[in-house]
């Protein structure tokens, strides 16, 4: 159905950008995890997750994002989010995702910060 999440990504040097489009539930979360892990396996050290085309992330989706974040931290990598709606931002803060990952308004800001950290 139309709301189901589509994930696309692009590698730029050490950084991979992932874009989501639609509802992030367990399937959407797993889709993101697959894409993220494949980049990590190929040597990417920083991930930027751009959610600007997503309006709902349910708690199961977020719990999967937390697993991705832990795996990135295990490998001393960086995970940043951008393009969150106020509601998604609020939910990320409630669940503590915001304590361990960085959240930026725009993709450019996220990329700039992440590039500095992995340089």
């Amino acid at each position: 159905m139309s709301e189901t999440c589509k994930v696309s990504s692009e590698r730029r040097g050490d950084v991979a950008i992932l874009w989501t489009d639609g509802y992030i539930n367990n399937q959407g979360g797993e889709e993101i995890a697959r894409e993220a892990y494949s980049h990590l396996d190929q040597g990417v050290r920083a991930l930027v997750l751009n959610l600007e085309k997503t309006r709902i992330v349910n708690s199961i989706g977020i719990s999967i994002l937390i697993e991705v974040l832990e795996k990135v931290m295990d490998r001393k990598g960086v995970l940043a989010f951008c393009g969150l709606t106020p509601t998604i931002d609020k939910t990320f803060r409630i669940m503590g995702l915001a304590q361990y990952a960085e959240i930026f308004p725009t993709q450019d800001e996220a990329l700039k910060k992440v590039a500095a950290q992995t340089a």
Partner: protein
């Protein structure tokens, strides 16, 4: 509504401000349900962000029923109510009723980011999110099932 005012005169005139629906217990049906919440939120001219909060709370309540309730009738019963407190404060209320096995709400352990990040169990956030996003939440549960009533002010 063409005046874009706050109180929907039609509904008030009809003396009824309630929309009820029944959806199957099935994956992604929670998203179909949110269409209704959004339509009624827009009817009240609620902000898009508040509508998103109602939608997520409804999603969480539906998923809980799908996952935990083991509903005898394989259905979820939703009721949306529009109301007004005093002269100005309009609200949208969403009730999710399942005829499942029920649970002891008081015994549910509250989640915390620390526990979530240090253990393998990352779930357990649904009710917490519902309470954080909605203005009033009331849960009753028993052998007959579970009813969660949550209200958001415009």
């Amino acid at each position: 509504m063409s005046q874009g005012g706050s109180a929907p005169p039609g509904l008030a005139a009809a003396g009824s401000r309630e929309v009820s629906m029944t959806i199957p217990v099935a994956p992604e049906m929670e998203i179909v349900a949110t269409a209704q919440a959004a339509a009624l939120g827009e009817y009240l001219a609620m902000s898009r962000d508040k509508i998103d909060e109602v939608k997520l709370a409804l999603v969480e309540a539906c998923i809980n029923a799908f996952e935990h309730a083991n509903c005898r009738d394989e259905q979820l019963h939703l009721t949306f109510r529009l109301g007004k407190e005093g002269k100005e404060r309009e609200w949208l209320e969403v009730e999710v009723l399942d005829r499942g096995r029920g649970f002891n709400h008081a015994a549910v352990e509250a989640p915390s980011p620390e526990k979530t990040f240090s253990s393998h169990r990352k779930r357990g956030w649904g009710l917490q999110i519902i309470k954080s996003l909605m203005d009033d939440v009331d849960i009753t549960s028993g052998e007959w099932g579970t009813r969660i009533v949550m209200r958001k002010y415009k």
